[in-house]
């Protein structure tokens, strides 16, 4: 039987498909090639459009929305510059596996290839920075493509997709089919784990003397149930756990079994435990270069189990002994089941010895710093922000740089989906629009973007979006007047020649806030910081908070470029003794 097809225009199909996929919010910017869709949107009920100020902001907002809700983010942009402005956000979402459906307008089909006004090869440009993309050439294909887009974006390893819709297709009438009548011809993502492999993994875990869980963003992407399963598995085994930048919040940071973040700016205990472990259980993490440090010295003595939903991540950077290709939540649940049914008893004596060693590393207190003098230390600012917001319904986004690492090191996340940061691509300017996306989804929550004065200027115009939609986001700027991470690397690797990392001129952020119609606050001394932070929290309007911090502070601990996990440096004093090899300098 042929399913009943409702006749409608391409633009109406877009709106209908968004509704059929339970989309409530879209982030976008109109232009010539998407006017028919905007016209259909004008008449649509139950669909809230947030007008951003730049298309990059639309994508990051959709990312923040997706990451804080576990749902698909949706953005709408016009052809040509609308699409090219979206590219940074798409690349960001691909790297961090964020589910997005991005709709772009295109010039009419008969104009494609003629260098028409605001024409660009959108599918060509976005091909390497999307999970998949489509140019719709026939109205008959549009409903199927719309439904496939949501399926592909949100299942398997999630990612951004782009649907490029020429203007004439938006006007054309055709038959709309519902989502359930569409089945993809080739796309079959892995989901259920192979139980034999799970049993082998559990046996290996049970035999471990120095085990560690190394968990990443895959756990967060697998949904809150996966995080709950992870907590149960860690509790059951009693093994230590460390998480990547993307994985923060999947396991409660207050638990003693959590060693903090690992990697380049990870904790001393996490990195040493990774280096010395005998069984590594990598769950939803991908052995990124920021995690491994020097690859040939990475955890040399360990057997490695690697769980990932994407087969291409297995053996990509690091050879592993036991790959598991499955959904993280399902696989961890299966591990728990096998562990319980086989009555696994880990080597208690060995484990106790391992924990003693870990506690010795932990006793180095690698994140300590001294707040003295009249200047606010950036670490102190983060700590005060954490203490004064603790226990609230809080979401944190960040920009990229030193402030991001300090936030990752010092903020303690107790649950998933509370931490939004640009991990893979490292996109400065991510934090403000991401915060806008988060606040759109959670209007009553406290949403803070921990920022630097450099990053924040890249997407500053989105403050106007926050004002327009009454989104009371808090932009907490650690202002050191330097591009701090660049300055730190110049100090470490380039003989202290601070080439173009100092901002000769900065806007007056308080006045800038007022110009946007936000609240501007400034703190310059430790004594006034708490009261100003409380003022920021209490005001129900968007705030730009200019926190003037010590210019010279560096972010430690740090694995210098080209070094191994057990070659961390903890302070400036140690840094002076470090010789970075030429090969190390070539790393970024």
């Amino acid at each position: 039987m042929i399913p009943q097809m409702k006749q409608m225009s391409g633009a109406e199909m877009v709106i209908q498909a968004l509704k059929d996929h339970d989309v409530e919010h879209i982030f976008g910017y109109p232009g010539g090639a998407v006017l028919p869709i905007y016209d259909a949107l004008f008449a649509a009920d139950g669909l809230v459009h947030v007008l951003v100020r730049h298309e990059q902001g639309a994508i990051h907002a959709a990312e923040g929305y997706a990451r804080s809700t576990g749902r698909c983010g949706v953005a709408l942009v016009t052809s040509g510059p609308g699409a090219t402005n979206a590219v940074t956000g798409l690349a960001d979402a691909l790297m961090d596996s964020i589910p997005l459906v991005v709709l772009s307008g295109q010039v009419a089909t008969h104009l494609i290839g003629t260098d028409a006004f605001q024409e660009c090869d959108t599918v060509g440009i976005t091909r390497p920075c999307t999970k998949h993309n489509w140019l719709v050439k026939d109205i008959a294909d549009l409903p199927r493509i719309l439904h496939e887009a949501f399926q592909i974006a949100t299942t398997g390893r999630p990612g951004p997709v782009v649907i490029d819709i020429p203007k004439d297709i938006q006007f054309k009438k055709g038959g709309y089919v519902a989502p359930d009548s569409v089945a993809h011809r080739t796309y079959r993502p892995a989901f259920e784990p192979d139980i034999d492999v799970i049993s082998q993994a559990v046996a290996l875990m049970a035999s471990a003397k120095r085990p560690i869980f190394y968990t990443g963003g895959g756990i967060i992407n697998a949904g809150p149930a996966a995080s709950r399963a992870l907590c149960e598995l860690v509790e059951l085994t009693g093994f230590p756990i460390t998480s990547t930048l993307m994985g923060l919040g999947a396991f409660p940071a207050s638990d003693r079994k959590w060693l903090g973040m690992l990697g380049m700016h990870g904790t001393f205990e996490a990195n040493h435990a990774m280096h010395d472990c005998d069984v590594m259980i990598a769950l939803g993490s991908r052995f990124d270069d920021r995690i491994t440090g020097r690859i040939d010295a990475f955890s040399p003595g360990s057997k490695k189990i690697h769980l990932d939903i994407d087969p291409s991540q297995i053996n990509k950077n690091v050879r592993v002994d036991l790959p598991i290709i499955a959904d993280a939540g399902r696989a961890i649940e299966a591990m728990i089941k096998v562990w319980k049914t086989t009555k696994c008893m880990p080597d208690k004596a060995a484990l106790a010895e391992w924990w003693e060693q870990i506690e010795r590393w932990r006793a180095r207190r690698c994140l300590d710093y001294k707040q003295n003098g009249g200047l606010i230390k950036p670490q102190y600012a983060i700590d005060r922000l954490y203490e004064l917001t603790k226990g609230r319904d809080l979401y944190i986004t960040t920009e990229v740089g030193q402030h991001q690492m300090w936030a990752a090191q010092r903020f303690k996340f107790e649950e998933p989906n509370r931490w939004m940061t640009s991990g893979g691509l490292g996109t400065m300017g991510y934090g403000i629009p991401a915060a806008i996306g988060v606040q759109t989804a959670h209007p009553e929550s406290l949403v803070v973007d921990i920022a630097g004065e450099g990053s924040v200027q890249m997407t500053m115009q989105e403050m106007a979006t926050a004002v327009q939609y009454n989104l009371p986001v808090k932009i907490f700027i650690l202002n050191n007047r330097y591009l701090g991470m660049v300055r730190q690397w110049q100090q470490l690797l380039h003989g202290g020649r601070y080439s173009h990392s100092y901002s000769e001129t900065l806007p007056d952020f308080v006045k800038l806030a007022e110009a946007f119609g936000c609240v501007g606050l400034r703190a310059e001394t430790p004594a006034e910081l708490d009261a100003k932070i409380m003022e920021m929290i209490d005001v129900r309007r968007p705030v730009l908070f200019d926190c003037i911090v010590d210019q010279k502070e560096n972010c430690y601990p740090m694995i210098p470029s080209g070094a191994a996990h057990n070659e961390m440096i903890l302070s400036d004093a140690e840094e002076e003794a470090v010789e970075v090899s030429d090969a190390g300098k070539m790393m970024v």
Partner: protein, 172 residues
């Protein structure tokens, strides 16, 4: 790349069955250029018009680790049905076709025809001063033929790249 790895380079023939949709070839070859993989030869054509599937055959080279990544990365592309490595997965045969133009007169012309005969290459265009030979075989055989034609007035070559298929009754 470390020297030990450089010595570890293998050449593999990989077949990829894809949906014949717009841009699918660009996805595959964009993956190779974007991730720095090599393509030695590339052959693509629709093989099942009813099912709209095309078969892409790629000869590539790299360390075993890189080759494994190449296959995994191709497998991740949405319109890909299947990826098979003919060099290790199953016994297979490879063939390539080339059109080879040779110009000359006198003894060289006669010699080129004699060699072509030995290689079972067929003249498909003949003038008083030239031949175009069609030759089919393994890439090595074609290389050898081309080398022999070099001193006999080789003008130009057009090669199809490798097509490959498994031995025995089973499909890919």
């Amino acid at each position: 790349m470390a020297e030990a790895q450089m010595n570890n380079i293998e050449r593999h023939t990989i077949a990829v069955l894809v949906d014949n949709e717009a841009g699918v070839l660009a996805r595959v070859i964009g993956l190779f250029s974007g991730r720095g993989y090599n393509i030695e030869t590339l052959t693509v054509a629709e093989v099942d018009p009813a099912a709209h599937t095309s078969r892409i055959t790629i000869v590539t080279s790299g360390t075993p680790e890189v080759l494994e990544q190449i296959k995994a990365q191709i497998g991740r592309l949405i319109p890909v049905h299947r990826v098979t490595d003919w060099t290790i997965d199953r016994p297979s045969i490879e063939r390539e076709m080339a059109l080879v133009k040779v110009a000359g007169t006198g003894e060289k012309r006669v010699e080129s025809l004699r060699i072509a005969d030995a290689f079972r290459a067929r003249p498909v265009d003949t003038t008083h001063t030239s031949f175009v030979f069609e030759i089919t075989g393994s890439p090595e055989k074609i290389n050898q033929f081309v080398d022999l034609m070099q001193p006999l007035g080789l003008v130009e070559i057009s090669r199809t790249g490798v097509a490959a298929i498994s031995r025995g009754p089973e499909a890919m």
